[in-house]
């Protein structure tokens, strides 16, 4: 990689429900905070990438922040929006086309499950009429098979959710800040077997902003730059089970997350054993369990004892989803991936407050997954 990229400013608008602010307004607040942190003005920013799914065009932010004439590119990549925006910004820095970039993601979704128009996903209307146009079903069927193949139990699904709410309770920016017991989780309403109400994340609102610059400039802005070791996304290949698949080949192939993960480790020149803290897509409990293995953080089936022994807790060997993940923060699609990066930066700086992981972490890993089978991975170093 020609030029190393540093993250030198962070801003976040709390996740959850903010009825009095639009998604764009929430994002403008996050951007202001990031600018203040890096001690720069909006006029100093010379390019931007950003996106949302349901809350408007990111480039409209210039009317809130100031009309400075910079190139501001909108990114629309579903759950990988934030990761794609960060990847594009890193490439802009590496190419020399920009010196100080804004990366932002925000969203504001209606209550309830995401409404899906099959045609937008290349499917006939029949897919919705048969009752298949729900992302929740996919996650349920994927973990159902995984539990069968690798002996993962319902208790482990509950443990993931219980940890999410426990971590969320320590995060002032989280939506769900009340711990929920294993018993309550295991007796909550069944939604899509084997997944219950408290194992799922819900669509929500929120915004995150990051400022990036060449690593050689970082000390102008901050004493605690965080360096991007790799940042990329991949689309699905033949033979994997993904959201909105009418069919799947009988032969099994590596998943899109396995592909993105392998490429990211290679780009960073490290392996899973080097990761100190991770934020991985937990659309529901099952996704966190399967993504642990798909990201190389454990072998298939090891999750059962890892969760039982608290290995992924804040004080465990490999803390995962330290800010409560999607389960405690909800999922504002455009902001979700950058929330992970924001949390990793805090952990790597050592400023995550009461949820700071113990051993001062050096390397962090973030992964997002979304329809129709995209995965984005970011690896950061302190």
């Amino acid at each position: 990689m020609s030029t190393d990229v540093a993250i030198i400013g962070l801003g976040i608008h709390p996740f959850g429900r903010t009825p009095d602010k639009t998604g764009l307004q929430q994002c403008a607040i996050a951007v202001s905070d990031a600018l203040k942190e890096a001690n720069v003005a909006w006029n100093d920013v010379d390019f931007a990438f950003g996106g949302s799914t349901d809350a408007g065009n990111a480039d409209t932010l210039v009317s809130e922040l100031g009309l400075t004439g910079i190139p501001f590119m909108n990114v629309a990549n579903g759950c990988a929006t934030g990761g794609s925006a960060l990847a594009a910004a890193c490439n802009t820095i590496r190419s020399g086309a920009g010196k100080l970039g804004l990366v932002c993601g925000f969203d504001k979704h209606a209550r309830g499950a995401f409404k899906v128009n099959p045609k937008e996903w290349g499917l006939g209307n029949w897919y919705g009429e048969e009752g298949f146009a729900l992302t929740t079903q996919f996650f349920a069927m994927k973990i159902q098979r995984y539990m069968h193949d690798y002996g993962i139990t319902e208790m482990t699904l509950a443990r993931v959710a219980e940890k999410a709410f426990r971590n969320g309770a320590l995060n002032p920016n989280a939506w769900r800040k009340t711990p929920i017991s294993i018993d309550e989780i295991l007796t909550s309403q069944m939604v899509n077997d084997p997944l219950r109400k408290y194992m799922f994340c819900s669509p929500s609102e929120g915004a995150v902003a990051l400022l990036v610059c060449p690593a050689s400039d970082a000390e102008k802005y901050t004493k605690t730059p965080i360096f991007v070791a790799s940042c990329l996304m991949r689309t699905r290949r033949f033979g994997t089970l993904e959201v909105f698949s009418p069919s799947k080949a009988i032969e099994d192939q590596k998943t899109v997350t396995q592909d993105a993960s392998k490429a990211a480790y290679e780009e960073a020149g490290i392996g899973p054993g080097d990761i100190d803290v991770a934020q991985i897509q937990d659309t529901e409990s099952g996704a966190e369990i399967m993504h642990m293995a798909e990201n190389g953080l454990c072998e298939d089936g090891e999750q059962e004892h890892m969760l039982a022994q608290g290995e992924t807790d804040l004080d465990g060997k490999l803390p995962i989803n330290t800010d409560g993940g999607c389960i405690a923060n909800g999922e504002p699609i455009g902001a979700s991936g950058l929330r992970q990066v924001h949390e990793l930066c805090l952990q790597l700086r050592g400023t995550a407050g009461s949820r700071q992981v113990k051993a001062s972490p050096k390397t962090g890993y973030a992964q997002v997954y979304g329809a129709p089978g995209v995965s984005g991975v970011t690896i950061l170093n302190s």
């Binding site: 309830g112 499950a113 409404k115 899906v116 128009n117 099959p118 006939g124 209307n125 029949w126 897919y127 919705g128 009429e129 048969e130 009752g131 298949f132 146009a133 729900l134 079903q137 349920a140 069927m141 994927k142 159902q144 098979r145 069968h148 309403q189 069944m190 939604v191 899509n192 077997d193 084997p194 997944l195 033949f238 033979g239 089970l241 698949s245 009418p246 069919s247 799947k248 080949a249 009988i250």
Partner: protein
């Protein structure tokens, strides 16, 4: 008998004496697609031969849809209470795994590896009273 039509005429013929799902096989690599594809998702070849998929399969995974999906695209409730339904991926041996409704009676429960056969049920009635028919699979024979 009321008018009936398939939920999508490209999925299966209806009415038909022995209705079956349509799939396609890649003329170059043999990959099987459902629904019928114009281009192979494995090798990108654009010559695909339409054929009838197997009517028997094995349950690969399943779930139950316990809350009403948003309408549209789900048919409107017309005031009837929502009935949870079961769905899954059914492996058609040597062909492909297809997403499908699963039809069970009160004594039957889904389990991975179960033997299934193709079945059809009415999904809903459209505004002019036409019955819209959907496909699914139902247990059959030794389900060990």
């Amino acid at each position: 008998m009321p008018n009936q039509k398939p939920v999508d005429a490209n999925l299966f013929d209806w009415p038909a004496s022995s209705p079956r799902l349509w799939g396609s096989r890649c003329a170059l690599c043999g990959n099987v697609s459902f629904p019928v594809a114009q281009r192979c998702s494995r090798c990108s070849h654009d010559e695909q031969d339409r054929f009838h998929l197997s009517t028997e399969g094995i349950l690969w995974s399943w779930t139950v849809q316990r809350f009403p999906p948003a309408s549209p695209p789900f048919p409107p409730s017309d005031g009837n209470p929502f009935e949870p339904f079961t769905l899954g991926y059914v492996e058609l041996p040597g062909e492909v795994r297809v997403i499908s409704r699963l039809f069970y009676n009160a004594q039957q429960t889904p389990h991975i590896g179960q033997n299934l056969k193709l079945a059809f049920e009415q999904l809903y009635c459209d505004a002019d009273g036409t019955e819209i028919i959907g496909y699914g699979f139902t247990p059959h024979g030794d389900t060990k």
